[in-house]
Structures are given as C-alpha cells and as structure tokens.
C-alpha cells in the first residue's frame, strides 16, 4: 500500500534566513507544515549569571549584546532599572538625550528588520537602500558615542558625553530627507502585488492568541491590540511627546510590516520634538563610586524596545553586585508564537513569519 510519511526538515542553526542561530525542526507533509519545534540556545552566553558577579556599572556593555541591532534600547532599560532600584534621578538633559538616541536606534533597528525581511522574500534592493540610511544613523552614533553597533553609552545616572554641535545640523537634515526614503521603500514593496501576495493573510495571529502568548511590540500591535509601553506606562520623558501608535487589523505579515514602517515615521516625530524641547543642564547626577542599592529591594522596569517589551528584573541584597538579574527579552517571548503562526502554511511562509516577528537571537538566548 502507498503510505505517506511526514518529512522532517531541519532549518538548522546555519541558515541564510533564520536571522541568527535559530534552529527550526519542521514537520512537513509535502510543503505544508504540520508541526514546528523551535530549538534555541545556540547563542546563550550566560549574561544573567555574569551579572551576579560584577558591579552594576560594569554590566552595561553586556546589555548591548542582547539585541545587537538596538544596543541603546537595551542600555536604556537596564540603566533605568538600576536607577529605579537605587532611587537615582538623571538630569533632564540626559533624559532627552537618551530618548533622542533611543528613537534613532529604533529607526536603525527597524531598518535592519525591513532590509533583511525584504531580502528574505527576494527583494534584495530594499536591503541596500535601508542600510544606506542606517549608515547615516550609525554615523550619528559614532559622532556622539564613539561606537556604531555595541554602543554602551548610557550610564547609571545619566549620559557621559553631550551631543556635539555638529550633530544638530546633520540630524535636522536627516529628519528632512528620511520620510522620502521611507516612501522609496514603500514604493518598492507596499503596493507591489508580489509582496502583497507573500504577506497578506500569511502567518496570521489573532489578538486573543497574541495576548495569551505574551506577544508584545509591533507583532502585538499588528494584530490590532493598541498597547505601547511608551503610552501605557510612560517612562523617561515620553509623556512630553506627541506621537501615534500604529496598529494593524488582521495580524498577518503585512500588518506587522506596516506597523513598523509607520513606527519609523513616528520616531521621526518624537526626535523632532526632542530636538526642539531639549533643555540645557547637567549630564550626570552624582552617583556613589560603589553603588549599593538597599538590601531586599527588587524592581521590574520595562521599556518599549524595537522588538517589544524589554524588561529587567533586579533583586538587590545590599551589595555592589545584583543578587539576581533577570532579562525579559521580547524576542524570546515573541518566538513562542511562531509555531502557531506557521501551522498549516507552506515552507516559504516560515521565512516570512520569522522575518515579521523580527527575532534577534541575542535577546532570545542571552
């Protein structure tokens, strides 16, 4: 008798489009997916354990390497958590600088996402156009902080250096020209029939399922849930800015794409307001050389990172080093939704789905 067997396909840790060392074991019937196993841990570096052995100040560079496409966001989350733990308030100017740089970082992270997502689906030119803009942003970072990728700029208590005078002119120029660039990317993708066919109705996740699985960030907003931590629990100086929260309708790949593209535009708005409102002042508050938060204090601080809710839970035992540092990486939680999204789809849709969740293995594995 003829009998059909399931085909097990391993999209192994080395694969051009799993965005890092992600391993997917797909069970296929023909080309339809009937089961997915997500295997992670190939990038686990023991960051949380390392945190228990070094003083609070020294951990900031490790946060760079979590979501390596958005280093400043992770810096911000950690630094804010330690400040809340020890009751330190950074000065106003420092807060504004932090927000401006974090929003630039959000744009840079979304550009990486857009470029790689489009390239996975075949549109290779978008990748180069996105990275052209990202180069300008990375030039800003180099100008201000000295580094392009693993930036390590925020400090507990403020920022270590001011925005140099040559930054402002170039930043305004970028803010003028970038919306046209977004139009370029959209011209190549948003109304392209092939793109629409590959992304509309693909890898759908409903709002209920998204909330149940703990999905956050643009992936959640693509399903129509209007939840953005910058609006729901404003932190730093976000409550002084006006910006919209883009949401999608159906929770398919296309909606998540549109949400992120729109978020880039909103980030431009925030940066504009930040540059207009930024006050003069100090850059750092005085922080003791050996920072010892009160014993028994514990704090959970969450921020809206480009990928979703990035949370830091720190427990202090009164010493220089944290007793326990737990990082809630958004990509780790978002990745849980992948099997549900691709169930019943085709192999080609897995690539679109991974791209649309925007997974970065640094955050998944820590």
């Amino acid at each position: 008798m003829l009998e059909t067997k399931e085909l097990i396909l391993n999209m192994g840790p080395q694969h051009p489009s799993t965005h890092g060392v992600l391993r997917l074991v797909l069970k296929l019937e023909g080309e339809t997916i009937v089961g997915t196993d997500v295997v992670i841990g190939y990038l686990h570096r023991g960051s949380e354990k390392i945190a228990e052995n070094i003083p609070y100040f020294e951990f900031v560079p490790y946060t760079d390497r979590l979501d390596y496409t958005a280093a400043l966001s992770s810096n911000l989350g950690y630094v804010m958590a330690v400040e809340k733990l020890s009751n330190i308030r950074p000065p106003e100017r420092a807060e504004y600088i932090r927000v401006i740089l974090t929003e630039f970082q959000r744009i840079a992270a979304h550009l990486v996402w857009l470029g790689t997502h489009a390239m996975d689906l075949g549109a290779m030119t978008v990748f180069l156009y996105c990275f052209r803009e990202r180069e300008t942003i990375l030039d800003f970072f180099e100008m201000i902080t000295g580094a392009r990728l693993t930036i390590n700029f925020f400090r507990i208590g403020g920022v270590p250096a001011d925005l140099p005078p040559q930054f402002f002119a170039r930043a305004w120029e970028f803010l003028e020209t970038f919306p046209d660039r977004i139009k370029e990317y959209e011209a190549l993708l948003t109304r392209n029939k092939i793109w629409l066919k590959r992304t509309k109705g693909v890898a759908v996740i409903s709002a209920e399922d998204a909330i149940d699985l703990g999905l956050t960030g643009p992936s959640l907003r693509g399903s129509g849930v209007s939840f953005d931590i910058r609006r729901a629990e404003p932190y730093s100086v976000y409550d002084r800015f006006q910006f919209d929260i883009p949401i999608g309708e159906k929770g398919d790949v296309f909606d998540r794409y549109m949400v992120r593209v729109e978020e880039m535009r909103q980030s431009i708005r925030i940066i504009r307001q930040g540059l207009e409102q930024i006050p003069e002042g100090d850059l750092m508050t005085r922080v003791p050389r050996k920072l010892k938060p009160p014993a028994g204090a514990e704090v959970y601080v969450r921020i809206e990172a480009p990928k979703g809710e990035l949370g830091f839970y720190i427990v202090s035992d009164g010493g220089e080093k944290p007793y326990r540092l737990k990082i809630r990486g958004p990509s780790f939680v978002n990745l849980q939704s992948l099997p549900l999204m691709v169930q019943g789809g085709l192999v080609a849709d897995v690539v679109a789905a991974i791209g649309s969740i925007d997974v970065v293995l640094g955050e998944v594995d820590r």
């Binding site: 085909l7 396909l9 694969h15 051009p16 489009s17 080309e31 489009a118 390239m119 996975d120 689906l121 075949g122 549109a123 290779m124 030119t125 990748f127 180069l128 156009y129 052209r132 190549l188 993708l189 392209n192 092939i194 793109w195 066919k197 590959r198 085709l346 192999v347 080609a348 849709d349 690539v351």
Partner: protein
C-alpha cells in the same frame, strides 16, 4: 577537395565561433548582472579584478575550475555526474538554429522553433536529476519545485508563441524574421509578448520565479550540494538559457536582425541585450513568488489568456 569535406570544415568553424561567442557572452553576463544590480542598489559591483572588475568572470572561472570536487557520500554518483551535463548541453545546442543574421547561422532548420522548444525541455531533466542525486531534502524540494514550474511554464511559452507563428505561417526562424519586414510582431501580438516574457522568466528560473534556487529558503535548492565545475555548469546553463530566450524573443517579436544602418548581427545582439537587461532589472526589483502562487498564476491566469490570444489571432487572421 571534395565539397563534403569543405562543408564539414565550414560547419565546424561556425560551431566553434558560435560556441566561443556564447561562452564568452555567458561568462560576461555574470559580470554584467553584478554590475547592473550593483548600480541599481547604489553600489558598484566588482571593481577590483582588472579595470572596473572586467576580469572578474575569468577569476570566477579559474576559481570554480580549481575547486575541490565534493560529492556527498550518499549521493547517486553517476546521476550526480550527469545532471550538470544534461542541464548544460541542451542550452548550448539550441544555438544551432538561431539566425544571427540573414546568412549567419549554423544550420537552417525549417522547424527551428520546435527544435528550440524541444531542446530546452531536456534541460528540466538535468534539474530533476540533480535534486534526486544529491540525496538531500533541500535539494529534492528544490528540484521538485523547479521541475513542476519549468514544465508548466514551458507549456505557456509554447502557447504564447503560437500567435506569432500563426501570423508568420512557418516554424522556420529565418522566415519568421522575414515576415516581420514591415511591422514587428510585438505590435500585432502585445499580449503574446507579455506572456512570453513571464513564461521566459519562469522557464529560466529567474526572479520572481527563482524559488528553486531561493537561497533564503532552500539554501541553494537543487544545486545545494554541487561545487566546483559542476556548479559552474548549472550556472552557465542558466545564463545560456537566458540568452536563448532573449534570442527567441528578438527573433519572434522584435524582428531579429533587422534594423537600419548597423549590420544585422549588431542589432540582434542589442535586442538580446535589451532582454537580458530587463531580466536583470526584474531581479533587482521584485520579491519572489511563493510556489503555489506561481503555479496558480500560471494555470489559472496565463493559460486562459494564452488560449484567448490564440483564438483572437485566429479570428483576426480569418476576418482579414
């Protein structure tokens, strides 16, 4: 000398010339693609090897030639060896009937179009053999997709050509070019031309139909396990097919070698290059279609349009 021997020598010389020219064009096509796509992407393409990268194809050829020949241990050895050959040879022998100028062709077949279609169909065997022999799931998936895609779109390719063939009244490539001496067939058969373009892109596994080699999805599809010269064969076969398809398009729709002032060969070359440029442009711009969408589009959209085109052409010819 007896005329038979002279004739044989002449034919051999023609074969050598065409073969050499095609090999050179195919090699420099890879360079052209990299340069054109590079410039479209705001970068420059190869610049280091030779002036502006002109020696790049030679460097690539040397590299592939000297690379270690890896054969997977579970592979079916003879089929693995034969697959690239079966892919490449049909691509090259199709050039035997293409008329580069009124009197410049290797041979003059009165069923030229049929010959080219038949010979390109053989290329599909090479892909199926490659996927099977590699004994790797990625390769097998890639070759299944490619085989189904290629023989579906070959049908549409054939159907789209029936329009111009009805007007020309012959399968002979030289006669078809002559039939376009007043008006090129693209004017009479715009629908067929568009269908031909789409079918040709699918036939040669180019974006947006390059699923069989979709590197981001299947690593490299049916040629995942190939390295060195065997890989070079597949690569050359793809580009040689592109040139064949460009040549067919220019002969059947754009008047072949006809054009003012310049010699026919130059016009032919320019027209073929225009098509190649179009293929390269598509590759730089468009995303890739999913496999089922590709098949849907072929059978449910292109096929009815092709049939309608044939019926329409027939009606017009009958009425006029």
């Amino acid at each position: 000398m007896p005329t038979v021997v002279v004739e044989i020598i002449v034919v051999l010389v023609k074969i050598a010339v065409v073969f050499g020219a095609v090999a050179l064009v195919v090699a420099y096509l890879t360079y052209l693609e990299r340069k054109v796509i590079g410039h479209m992407q705001h970068r420059m393409g190869p610049m280091r090897v030779g002036w502006h990268g002109l020696l790049q194809p030679i460097a690539d050829g040397l590299k592939l030639f000297t690379k270690e020949d890896i054969i997977p241990s579970q592979a079916d050895r003879w089929v693995f060896f034969l697959a690239p050959v079966v892919s490449l040879v049909p691509a090259f022998i199709a050039y035997a009937v293409i008329p580069f100028d009124r009197n410049f062709y290797i041979t003059h077949l009165n069923i030229g179009v049929l010959y080219i279609l038949a010979v390109s169909s053989l290329g599909v065997y090479g892909i199926v053999m490659a996927g099977w022999a590699s004994n790797s799931k990625y390769a097998i998936l890639g070759s299944f997709r490619s085989a189904a895609q290629m023989f579906s779109y070959e049908i549409f390719l054939g159907f789209s050509l029936i329009g111009p063939l009805m007007i020309a009244g012959s399968l002979d490539l030289v006669k078809i070019v002559d039939a376009q001496s007043k008006v090129w067939f693209i004017v009479y058969q715009p629908v067929a031309f568009l269908l031909f373009l789409v079918a040709a892109t699918a036939e040669t596994n180019r974006v947006p139909f390059d699923l069989p080699e979709a590197e981001t999805e299947l690593v490299a599809g049916f040629h995942t396990e190939y390295s060195g010269m065997k890989f070079a064969f597949f690569f050359m076969a793809e580009y040689a097919n592109m040139v064949i398809v460009g040549a067919m398009a220019s002969v059947l729709f754009l008047g072949g070698w006809s054009g003012p002032v310049l010699p026919g060969v130059i016009w032919f070359f320019l027209k073929v290059m225009a098509f190649i440029f179009l293929f390269i442009w598509l590759r730089a711009t468009l995303p890739r279609l999913r496999y089922d969408q590709l098949m849907y589009m072929g059978w449910k959209v292109m096929f009815p349009i092709a049939i309608l085109n044939i019926v329409g052409t027939g009606l017009v010819i009958y009425l006029l």
